[in-house]
Amino acid sequence: MSLRIVVCVKYVPDATGDRHFAEDLTVDRDDVDGLLSELDEYAVEQALQIADEADEAEITVLTIGPEDAKDALRKALSMGAHKAIHVEDDDLHGTDALGTSLVLAKAVEHAGYDLVICGMASTDGGMGVLPAILAERLGVPQVTLLSEVSVADGKVTGRRDGDTASEQLEAALPAVVSVTDQSGEARYPSFKGIMAAKKKPVESLDLSDLGIEADEVGLDGAWTKVDDAAERPARTAGTIVKDEGEGGKQLAEFLAGQKFI
């Protein structure tokens, strides 16, 4: 039987761009160039490797996001994923983690899955909680923050490097996995891959397709509210000296002045 893998990928504002908030205090996704979250490339990569090891596998990449989020899907398809699902709906604007997870869970169920693979965190919101919430909603094991992962005999195993210990984990499929940027460099799409991606199917879904009411998501449906967003004042220009042989001593003088020594 074919192993059905769904990879959740997010389209995010470029971190090296001038990221900011829109007037309604949501992340401004219009003014800044977007791309496939780099941390989700690792998820696509692991999906491709797991698929290679399996007798037969099909990889679906899934995103919730605006029209432009198709770029993220295309990138993942050009890396080698087989098909894509794009959930797009004006009512999704301003959806928070709980809402996003609700939509993702419905879309994953719609796709059908044995394994869901996520990135460790999105590079914009960066909560790093979606995979755990998704597992909770789907009622399947969470095997998250893996720096090493493999699938065999209906089981997923992997290594989770935690704060105080490194753990070897194991769970039966179906399961939700997330992988870290230690899991292995993501491949670059080949020219052939880029051409092939253009012909791969992208299914578009809106909230009604997934049986979700508009008031369950979006800014008004959110479980949290941002009341204020202020640009952090630029750090006041510090003192910069050139080392002419006494740089270490000068630095010590500064640290002593600040009472660190």
Partner: protein, 320 residues
Amino acid sequence: MAEVLVYVDHVDGAVRKPTLELLTLARRVGDPIAVHLGPGAEEAAKVLGEHGAVKVLAADAPEFGDYLVVPKVDALQAAYEAVSPAAVLVPSSAEGKEIAARLAVRIGSGIITDAVDLEAGDEGPVATQSVFAASFTTKSRVTKGTPVITVKPNSASPEAAPAAGAVEQLAVSFGEQATGTKVVSRTPRESTGRPELTEAAIVVSGGRGVNGAENFPVIEGLADSLGAAVGASRAAVDAGWYPHSSQVGQTGKSVSPQLYIAAGISGAIQHRAGMQTSKTIVAINKDAEAPIFDLVDYGVVGDLFDVVPQLTEEVKTRKG
């Protein structure tokens, strides 16, 4: 006064510092009730009581160690149902965030992660967050259900506030999902004898400029002279010069010490994401154009192999 649940992060009863900070913040919102899972509750209760815990709800079961995350969610949920708190606060470790998030879904509450400050507000606790690589500061609230908020280390100084802190047993029944993900083996991280990276008052980090694992003792020497933790950039970690557990940045640890010293680090946005909220920032880099200098309170343009050893000697001399 309302009660606030505080999830205790500990190693066999040794309470980690972020939990004590959390107790201090919790007292702004209500009376803290600590939730201690796993062994060592009696020992932990002393410290928790000293820092304001009016009560310690404790549960111990093999499931907490043998399975990932979910048993702890079951227990925190049991505490939530027993107490009906005004808020649930959890330290922002990777595991803490996952526990908090799953609890939030179960109890139909919103969740805020990685708060750096917390105040009482008319409509519930207000959390301050630092976003977009710390270039923005936001204030947010949970608007549905009981606020579940995770708070980053070093967001407050732990204050003593003696309270009863008596241990009460918490009855937990594990759900079907609890045993879904088995922890087959666990290798504790070896202690370096240095302060914990996220908790340290001073962090000294090395980057690609350190140019080899064999040179990292230069960084460690400075760190030890200052009683600091050692950090590394991703470039240094990817090169295999220093363990990933020491990586500072977006995909490593986020630190907010009193003093951050970056040596041989350029200051890429992903690195800044993990250190920009440090109180005082110092950099040593031979490239005067390195973006790290935009952040610094004091910068030395020079070769780290000259500057760092000289600084270390000077610190030692001054400290006597």
